[in-house]
Symmetry: C2
Subunit: 280 residues, 2 copies
């Protein structure tokens, strides 16, 4: 496989969130020639939505996704309503940024619950509740299946096949505005990955996140690797994405307490660019 | 659901392996009225196979499984041959113990490899190589799908559906001697779990391992919970197993560096018995 188009690299700001504010990350992407950016809402709120949108437009960056909506399951109806309202606000913020999608991390089991099937129903109902608004706003929703090790506390949608089943249930005629974010960290192990990417096709493949799986992995949450440092066959997965019709960005998202969050962020961005060309 | 038959409780000796030798674990099970035991090969070799078999028979215990065979993928042909030879010896040991199965943990990616599909082929070939001998010995092979977080370094068979596909490929006419070990820790999150347990049926359901998934989980390997301390709906999964025809033991297997490995093992066994009745 030939190296990817360098203009398709995007920076998920989680990768340097301990070092840089969103304003710094926007300026950093512009300085390093990285054409895509995916901000998180906490930093977006700190900067302000309008100033952020203005700075992003000023540098001509593409917002490859806003992180994140979702987190639908709650112990009571008031909690579920609050989650839906927060997601409606997230859609508006994504619209203001011109984001290519709002990334949805489903949410896990509400406190004390062992009913994962019930949590999954709450996720389905939550997405159904916000889909009319997100369609009207022109903000595609990208359901991100998370690694099964997060099923209890972060996301009860855990495989690409399951996320696509959910898309099919909520949007059976593929009217648009609903699809998936494929993050290699979460799905690389799945024996059905190639088949499910093909099933998703261009209409459902909204975002593509890259990083690597380290051996050993020292922490369940914040020990993701830089592309090339782990065991994920990134070119193979990218080839499946492209074969299925995906032509969007490759968004680097690395949570790394022990390594990349401790480095000079300019060095991190340079490394992302080099590794994208060499290992993706 | 009514509480399980207490005579179906089995102790996987990993649960108290830091405190007790196999001889002590055998005596402990007998003392506490636990009728099943599942030893590990390292402790079995320390005690000696014949003395262990003699002690287990003397107490009338059922060996619900020998842990473990598998670990088939290797970087070269010599490594793969060595793995197969070691598995043939494990079959003989399981036979000597009268074990209900040899548990197979597939093995992960050979050093440096990113080819998980290739590793999976090596697992298939390895099982195919030992199946004639295990059948002759009357030792069923139980493929244990491991949680996807172990895909790189321990087992590239990661869902029950995938393990059953492997069974179907190697034993298409269900001639016996090949099936799965269902460990709730590895599969509880799987949206296809109920369907795949039903698919497996009595012929393929060889072993059932129980523990719990803690929130938070502080370590990828050695932070399993005692039944009742986590989020797994154990009675529901047991009901699926029974509905599918499984009538065997419920084997407690807990790796717990921070908790249960630090406790008085007699107290651990009493807790297993109580929790089995109360939460399984």
């Amino acid at each position: 496989m030939s190296p990817p188009d360098p203009d398709l690299l995007s920076l998920n700001t989680a990768t340097i969130c301990k070092q840089w504010s969103l304003a710094q990350a926007i300026a950093g992407c512009a300085r390093h020639g990285i054409r895509g950016i995916a901000p998180w809402r906490d930093q977006l709120h700190e900067m302000g939505v309008e100033p952020a949108a203005h700075a992003i437009r000023g540098h001509g960056l593409t917002v490859t996704g806003l992180c994140r909506g979702g987190m639908f399951p709650a112990a009571d109806a008031a909690g579920r309503r609050a989650a839906i309202e927060d997601n409606l606000r997230a859609v508006d913020e994504a619209q203001a940024l011109g984001a290519r999608c709002l990334v949805l991390v489903a949410g896990g089991l509400p406190g004390g619950s062992k009913d994962i099937a019930g949590a999954r129903e709450q996720v389905r109902d939550g997405i159904a509740a916000i889909l009319p608004h997100s369609r009207q706003a022109g903000v595609p929703l990208a359901i991100e299946p998370l690694h099964p090790m997060y099923a209890a506390d972060r996301a009860c949608i855990n495989t690409l096949g399951q996320a696509l089943d959910l898309c099919d249930a909520l949007d059976p005629r593929i009217e648009g505005g609903l699809g998936v974010a494929v993050d290699v960290y979460h799905v690389w192990w799945d024996p059905q990955l190639e088949r499910q990417i093909e099933r998703a096709g261009r209409a459902r493949l909204i975002a593509f996140h890259i990083c690597d799986w380290l051996v050993p992995t020292r922490d369940l949450l914040n020990d993701r690797g830089m592309m090339g440092d782990g065991v994920i066959d990134l070119p193979r997965i990218r080839s499946w994405m492209q074969h299925a019709g995906y032509a969007g960005f490759h968004e680097v998202e690395i949570f790394s307490e022990l390594d990349w969050w401790r480095r000079d962020p300019d060095q991190v961005l340079e490394t992302c660019k080099q590794r994208h060309q060499r290992f993706c």
